[in-house]
């Protein structure tokens, strides 16, 4: 069916074309730009919903463009890509609203929104990639599209952060390219399908395949911020808040995590992974990252840096879930965390942005008593933070629960200990913030206060975090319902026969 394939192209165009038009728009066309952005985001959401329904009823969406031997551009929507694409498009809509409010009066907005749209286009394309080459293509393009966003402010710190970002990601990209080419010379074109490559190859090319896996992991690990490849992430915090939200909740780190999922489940396949004995490697890498990120987060006073280290730690839950892939429950936990972490983290970043934009608060020590000044924002923040710790009925609890069940089923006490320890650490760095925000007395005047009539801050800044916070609770409460991230993840796993 041709039109079904073209739907995927339309999904990409719905943010690409507005992006291109926005580049050409003069700076002062505020209304046109905003409506284009929102229109694009809305259309994309509609397209993706159509696609999701189609996938649910078993339609096959696919479009391909063969280039050369072994290199083929292939967009293919399977349930897993639908998961990531839906997350990205929903959060894009919210982030766009937020960014419009956040960047009011700031210079160079047309470039900002142009790259923003490109960034989302590329992220969705990563979600829809049907083979490793296409994934690589958009993975590299993501680097290029996010770089201008990181250096958007043009300050020396921003430039330094941008440079480090490039060093990490381009280096990772080169390693990834090398690994992909190597893999393809052994296994032939690597399509994303449940089977993985032929098990016969495991015997003949064991060393090569193990090395390729390590290289691939290094390639995607840079963006997924696996320790020790995470150095760029806290530095990238100099970017404007919507960018941080986008980078950390949706685009970059999730692209890396999604890459790990694809490599484990689709490129290698669970059977080959266990034949090659690669799971322990992944477990170790992700556990180290989880603990290290949490410990580093404990030491931070800058709120956004704390959130960044928390991201380092939380994203690795996805990898940890994948590393227990023998057990479907753990896989469920990992995959559903892809969505859940996105929701929680974007709430936290929105709130951090609100604090900075309204009161000029950047440090945790300045947050005493802030909840009285901005109750809605801090309520949303608290929900996100509690979710991170894993307290029911938030979504964070759901993913940790499933992961814990998986570890238990495998008698893997070590992983259980990691889970418990990281939750404890999460609590250690989030709870003091919450208590001081809600219960402490304001000591000093706010660093840079701006007053808005009616609401505690601009409406466009307030709505997105409130919405995401509500989703965090609702999706956690009704996790077992027919329509929920968890239900969709179960649907995904049917495809893998787990």
């Amino acid at each position: 069916m041709i039109w079904q394939g073209w739907l995927l192209v339309f999904i990409l165009l719905s943010s690409f074309l507005p992006g291109i038009i926005i580049f050409a728009l003069p700076e002062e066309k505020y209304r046109l730009r905003t409506s284009l952005n929102l229109f694009g985001a809305g259309i994309k959401l509609v397209f993706i919903l159509i696609m999701n329904i189609g996938i649910y009823y078993g339609y096959n969406y696919e479009i391909r463009l063969p280039l050369i031997q072994g290199v083929e551009l292939l967009l293919n929507a399977d349930p897993l890509s639908a998961l990531f694409a839906t997350l990205s498009s929903v959060l894009w809509l919210l982030t766009t609203i937020y960014a419009v409010g956040y960047l009011e009066d700031s210079p160079n907005r047309s470039h900002f929104f142009g790259y923003f749209s490109l960034c989302v286009t590329v992220t969705i394309a990563i979600a829809l990639a049907g083979n490793l080459v296409t994934f690589l293509l958009f993975y590299e393009m993501l680097t290029l599209a996010t770089y201008p966003l990181i250096i958007h402010r043009g300050t020396p710190q921003a430039l330094r952060a941008g440079r480090n970002y490039l060093i990490y990601t381009l280096g990772g990209g080169a390693v990834f390219l090398f690994a992909v080419v190597w893999l393809q010379t052994i296994t032939g074109p690597a399509y994303f399908s449940a089977a993985g490559f032929s098990p016969l190859l495991v015997e003949t090319h064991r060393t090569a395949l193990v090395s390729i896996f390590i290289l691939l992991l290094m390639g995607v690990g840079v963006k997924a911020a696996l320790v020790p490849l995470h150095g760029w992430l806290p530095q990238a915090m100099v970017a404007p808040a919507p960018v941080s939200a986008l980078l950390h909740a949706v685009a970059v780190v999730k692209a890396g995590a999604f890459g790990i999922v694809r490599i484990v489940l689709d490129v290698y396949g669970i059977d080959n992974m266990s034949r090659l004995n690669l799971f322990p490697l992944l477990t170790v890498a992700s556990s180290v990252t989880i603990i290290w990120g949490s410990i580093r987060a404990l030491q931070q006073d800058n709120l956004k840096r704390l959130l960044a280290f928390s991201t380092v730690s939380q994203v690795s839950y996805i990898a940890l879930g994948m590393s227990l892939a023998d057990q479907p429950l753990a896989v469920i936990g990992g995959l559903v965390h892809l969505v859940h972490q996105g929701l929680m983290k974007i709430t936290l970043f929105f709130c951090a942005g609100n604090l900075a934009e309204t009161l000029g608060i950047h440090r945790i020590s300045e947050m005493k008593g802030v909840a009285r000044r901005m109750p809605l924002t801090m309520a949303a923040f608290s929900i996100g933070a509690l979710g991170m710790i894993g307290i029911p009925p938030t979504v964070g609890f759901v993913s940790k629960w499933y992961m814990g069940l998986g570890a238990l089923a495998m008698d893997n006490w070590w992983v259980l200990a990691i889970l418990a320890g990281s939750s404890l650490l999460n609590a250690c760095y989030f709870l003091p913030i919450l208590t001081s925000a809600w219960f402490a007395k304001q000591e000093r005047p706010w660093p840079e206060e701006r007053r808005f009539n009616r609401f505690e801050t601009r409406l466009m800044l307030l709505v997105p975090p409130v919405i995401t916070a509500i989703i965090v609770i609702v999706a956690g409460a009704v996790a077992n319902a027919q329509i929920s991230p968890l239900a969709w993840v179960r649907f995904i796993l049917r495809e893998y026969g787990l």
């Binding site: 050369i68 160079n108 690589l136 290029l144 043009g154």
Partner: protein
């Protein structure tokens, strides 16, 4: 003249030639003559492409005299790709040059100089286009020498056109080096003639057998051509010559002219005398290519001036072409290396032309090209900055550019032929490339807070769009990859049939 007439093959030579003579004869409206010639050239190449896809490779005997006696033109896959490359970037360069000169004449620094430059640019450029087309089409080893000299003379004159002392010194050195290269090539031709008594490439391929005469000839010709192609360590003349020329001239020199001598070299090594090439020689080429990639990139990273940076990056990119040499003759990797070279040449031609054009536009508007002072150029020259960045993506070999396809092919043929060390070189090269590309791009795209950049507006769309379009072509070359491959493969298919038929 009907569409399938064999006469079309001479059009890419004759049309720019006539136009060049007319541009010399008349002093007014030279741009329109040149534009007409570029368009007509593109059209005739398109017709040739159509004929080629329909009828396969063809030969054309000049003056009706068959091969050993007369001179033949031949058209096979690589030829048609090179002609397309010349025609497309030629059209872009023609348009850009118009914008460039009208800008310079509108804002004169020295009255008279720019008129002189424009007056002589057009005939020289059109004759250079003639020469390149003639070179790509020629099937006679001595005729190749004559076309090489045509290229040399016109390119050196163009390089000196700017009139600055630095450019004249560079052009002089360029001329001498090219002469040395041509003479070395000619001596090689003499050895070939002394050994085999024929000059036609096709016949040479049939009679060529390994021997001291052929080895000496190949060594001499290779040396000469390497000198002209500026392979490390024979590259010393290239950066000053390319960096000090006028921007359209730099685009021509870097994008097209070096490809001419490389084309001859490649045809000699892999088509005509392929049977007599030893693996050691190929490895030597690979090693030199490695040196070029590393040295060129490191030098590019160290430059303070934009045009010099771009010029050094040419050296490094040319290195990739030679990395393909050791991969090209080994088993199943060979075909891939051929295609890799084709993509590399095409993508580099478009991207580098675009890059030099963008650098020239930046130079015109900012009045300098010191890299550290280029902050925020995006604000006033958005299209040019994008053109530069997109061309840079190509040099880094990021997907979906033509450069990416080339690197992919090189990587996979190096891994399949288990010569993995070349792939390490390739990856290192692209990382170094990304350093020198982003050194500039990050400055172009940063707008420092609270600082007004430049109030200038882009002067003419002709200064911005040709660069952007060429860069886009280079970028999207990856997406139309099957078509160049089809052209290359049509050729080998048919030639296999011909060889099988005992021809």
């Amino acid at each position: 003249m009907s569409f399938d007439s064999p006469t079309w093959i001479v059009c890419p030579i004759i049309l720019p030639l006539i136009a060049g003579l007319l541009c010399f004869l008349f002093r007014k409206n030279t741009f329109f003559i040149a534009l007409f010639a570029s368009l007509a050239n593109l059209l005739s190449v398109a017709i040739l492409l159509w004929q080629f896809l329909l009828l396969g490779p063809m030969r054309y005997s000049m003056g009706g005299w068959q091969a050993p006696l007369g001179i033949s033109l031949r058209m096979h896959g690589p030829t048609i790709l090179m002609l397309l490359m010349t025609a497309v970037s030629g059209l872009g360069i023609t348009l850009y040059a118009r914008g460039y000169f009208s800008f310079r004449i509108a804002a004169p620094k020295r009255v008279g100089r720019h008129e002189r430059q424009e007056r002589f640019f057009w005939p020289l450029w059109l004759l250079l286009m003639t020469a390149l087309n003639a070179l790509f089409l020629s099937a006679d080893i001595f005729n190749l020498y004559v076309t090489l000299e045509l290229v040399t003379v016109s390119a050196a004159a163009l390089a000196a056109l700017s009139g600055k002392p630095a450019s004249q010194i560079a052009a002089f050195r360029y001329l001498l080096v090219s002469l040395l290269g041509s003479l070395s090539y000619l001596l090689g031709v003499v050895f070939v003639y002394k050994t085999y008594g024929v000059l036609d490439l096709q016949m040479l391929r049939q009679v060529a057998s390994p021997g001291p005469g052929l080895q000496a000839a190949l060594a001499l010709m290779t040396l000469g051509l390497l000198l002209k192609t500026a392979l490390f360590p024979l590259h010393f003349w290239l950066p000053p010559a390319h960096a000090n020329a006028l921007a359209p001239v730099s685009a021509i020199l870097s994008g097209l002219v070096v490809k001419g001598s490389f084309y001859i070299l490649f045809v000699l090594w892999f088509d005509i005398f392929a049977s007599s090439i030893s693996q050691n020689a190929l490895n030597l080429m690979g090693v030199l290519g490695t040196g070029a990639i590393i040295w060129g990139s490191v030098q590019a990273i160290r430059q303070q001036r934009l045009k010099l940076l771009v010029a050094y990056s040419t050296i490094s990119q040319l290195g990739y072409l030679f990395i393909a040499f050791p991969l090209a003759l080994r088993g199943d990797g060979g075909q891939g290396a051929w295609a890799a070279v084709a993509f590399m040449v095409l993508a580099h031609a478009f991207a580098k032309s675009a890059m030099f054009m963008a650098a020239g536009t930046i130079f015109l508007h900012m009045g300098h090209d010191r890299i550290k002072d280029l902050t925020g150029v995006r604000k006033c020259l958005p299209l040019t900055s994008f053109a530069y960045a997109i061309a840079g993506v190509n040099l880094m070999g990021l997907p979906p550019s033509g450069g990416f396809i080339a690197k992919w092919l090189l990587l996979s043929s190096s891994l399949t032929s288990s010569q993995w060390w070349w792939s390490v070189v390739i990856m290192t090269g692209s990382l170094l490339a990304s350093i020198y590309v982003f050194r500039v791009v990050s400055r172009l795209f940063v707008i420092p807070a609270g600082k007004s950049i430049c109030a200038c507006r882009p002067h003419s769309p002709l200064l911005e769009w040709p660069a952007l379009v060429l860069a886009m072509i280079a970028l999207l070359l990856g997406l139309i990859a099957p078509y160049p491959l089809l052209i290359l493969e049509t050729d080998t298919l048919v030639s296999c049939l011909l060889l099988g038929g005992g021809l």
